[in-house]
Amino acid sequence: MTATVTDQLTPQQAGTRAHAVLDEIERAVVGKRAALELVMLGVLAGGHVLIEDLPGLGKTLLARSFSTVLGLDFRRIQFTPDLLPSDVTGAPFYDQRTGEMVFRPGPVFAHLLLADEINRTPPKTQAALLEAMAEAQVSTDGVTRPLPKPFVVIATNNPIEYEGTYALPEAQLDRFLLRVRMGYLPVAEEAAMLRRRLDRDTPEAVLNTLSNPGEVVAMRDALERVEVNDDLVDYIVALVDATRRHAQIQVGASPRGGLALVQLARARAVMAGRDYVIPEDVKAVALPALAHRVTLKPELWVRRISADDVIAGLVQSVPTPQTTPVPAQGRPQDSASAVPNAAVPNPANPVGA
């Protein structure tokens, strides 16, 4: 695998490289291929990933492994209750030699930012990431500074602790393209993981860098050459609309949720070596793309029904496109008519938030 900057990659090439990256990461993060693929989808789709699970499941290791193998500049912020917004974005300071105020960039100026335990800091500091995540830029003292490309936030969230934590507001959650749960390893996989630790001399596996920022951008650009059929666009809209009409959901998914579905489905198609999206792609990413964007009715908390349950049921009830294409009015007869490059706006700022 070369680490050269590639101007243009086909979806098949991008998919091959993505799988090579995942294979390398899997040397360190054992038995989590599904979670790794979801994070890779988020990276390819140009979004940010929220990893939500219990402590000790390898969330931080996963983020560090991605940065190492993808060759991205990595920064980490340990979110604490006393963290300030300027600790995230950076702040101007007085340079005594020049007598001027000089901006000192914060850790957000990196390719891959690990926001560890993001729910431990107050909403004020959480909100410091809003502009960075949505628009890939930071505005301080009236000056807007762009963030390096690619810019990926991988945030971890501990769902079981309530003391001293601040739940992420909906606006912040909506900025994450997808939410990933890692879960415990199966017993056999856990034994293999322990065996690997015993077999090597170092605490962690040393990973090779297989890519670079330019190539990651090229892989992202390959998504724009993946076509999305009109029927699938309708299917995505139906899924998002169903979240707004569901009896158990108080607030449904935003339009950003539909855009996330489109981009994640395209990324999944790339991972499968296709340059077209099929219904399986949409269905597979619906849960991680939508579950964190909906707010359930309060009474469901008593019945221990989670948003994951509701979205999973919803995906099993919304009709997929019919086998035989039905020509619609005002739509070209040809079934695969979506224009790949024009169909979807830049996911970094999908609705101009």
Binding site: R245, A247, R274, P279, D309, V310, S317, P321, T323, A336
Partner: protein, 330 residues
């Protein structure tokens, strides 16, 4: 299939509701019938009201737990209306249990008092003059023919009523049995025509094989006749889908081709890579603008032949299992 299962379940629920109403009614009468009724007075089971109340609590609790479990299992399905109704079921069970327990407690702890003044006795008030407001003393219990609280004073024997209830229950059971039997016979006659989403698990002796053969033949014709390979491949996949439906695995509305294929494989209808190849070709033909050529058409044809061969083998095995039958040409 699903509909076929629902109706007997509905009948069983209605029968259970009827049975519960009859049992509760009998229990109430056996404890304490209201005045003015034929059985007015305390019944023979009055002393066991606490036992009955406990039974009601146990049954109510069991039903509530079952409903809760089922709601948790079906956490997020159904229409909004169904979800609203489902959310009311559990509180409804609890309220009904409470109401029944309170009712049983009242019936068990209170005796019916017959203190209505007789026409010529009791409190005499001269309404016209307003005089005589001082109540006169009630006659002693022995001097009046007053029904006491003993059930033996009831004009109808409780045992007669119990026998009557049991006879009615027997008649109801006979009616339910007749209805269930007749439905079963009708369903047996109406063989074939798998319901939407049903998974029957393969071939049988009722003519499914012919339907499968016909669907495969339709796919062959689509591949041969249609000049556009894209349309031909889609038609071929549609033929496979129909053949699977005829074999008992229908496409559900929220199914992707992979979902359908998985269910067909689980049911033993498809094996090997042929169906997967045809599904992949269909995905490309249906959802991409790729030019589809004769090569893909040939691939689809080969996949269809393989599927047809498997279906023929399965049909032959089925024929061997269920006895000799007309040989199919697939």
């Amino acid at each position: 299939m699903a509909r076929g299962n629902d109706n007997p379940r509905l009948g069983a629920r209605l029968a259970a509701a009827l049975g519960a109403a009859v049992v509760l009614g009998m229990a109430a009468v056996a404890m304490n019938a209201a005045r003015g009724t034929a059985l007015a007075g305390d019944g023979p089971a009055k002393g066991m009201w606490a036992l009955l109340a406990l039974g009601v609590v146990v049954v109510g609790w069991t039903l509530a737990v079952q409903v809760r479990r089922r709601q948790d299992r079906l956490a997020a399905g159904g229409t909004p209306t169904q979800s609203r109704i489902a959310s009311l079921v559990l509180p409804g069970f609890i309220l009904m249990t409470l109401a029944t327990v309170i009712g049983v407690t009242i019936l068990g702890t209170r005796s019916v008092q017959f203190s209505m003044p007789q026409p010529n006795q009791g409190v005499a008030v001269d309404r016209a003059t307003g005089a005589g407001r001082t109540p006169t003393a009630l006659p002693s219990a022995g001097s009046v023919d007053q029904p006491n609280s003993n059930s033996s004073s009831s004009p109808i024997d409780f045992q007669d009523l119990l026998i009557g209830f049991l006879v009615l229950l027997g008649v109801a059971l006979v009616v339910v049995l007749v209805v269930v039997l007749s439905r079963w016979l009708v369903a047996r006659r109406r063989v074939g025509g798998a319901a939407e989403g049903a998974v029957d698990g393969g071939l049988d002796e009722d003519g499914t094989g012919e339907a499968l053969a016909g669907a495969v033949q339709a796919g062959r014709e689509a591949l041969a006749d249609d000049p556009d390979p894209r349309t031909a491949i889609i038609a071929c996949y549609a033929a496979m889908e129909k053949s699977l439906a005829d074999g008992g695995v229908s496409r559900r509305k929220a199914d992707t081709p992979t979902d359908l294929l998985q269910r067909a494989a689980d049911a033993g209808l498809v094996q090997g890579h042929a169906a997967q190849t045809l599904t992949d070709l269909f995905g490309e033909a249906r959802y991409s603008t790729h030019p589809m050529g004769e090569h893909q058409r040939d691939q689809a044809r080969a996949a269809l032949e393989s599927i047809g061969a498997h279906l023929a083998a399965a049909t032959a095995a089925s024929a061997a299992r269920f006895g000799a039958r007309e040989e199919l040409e697939i």
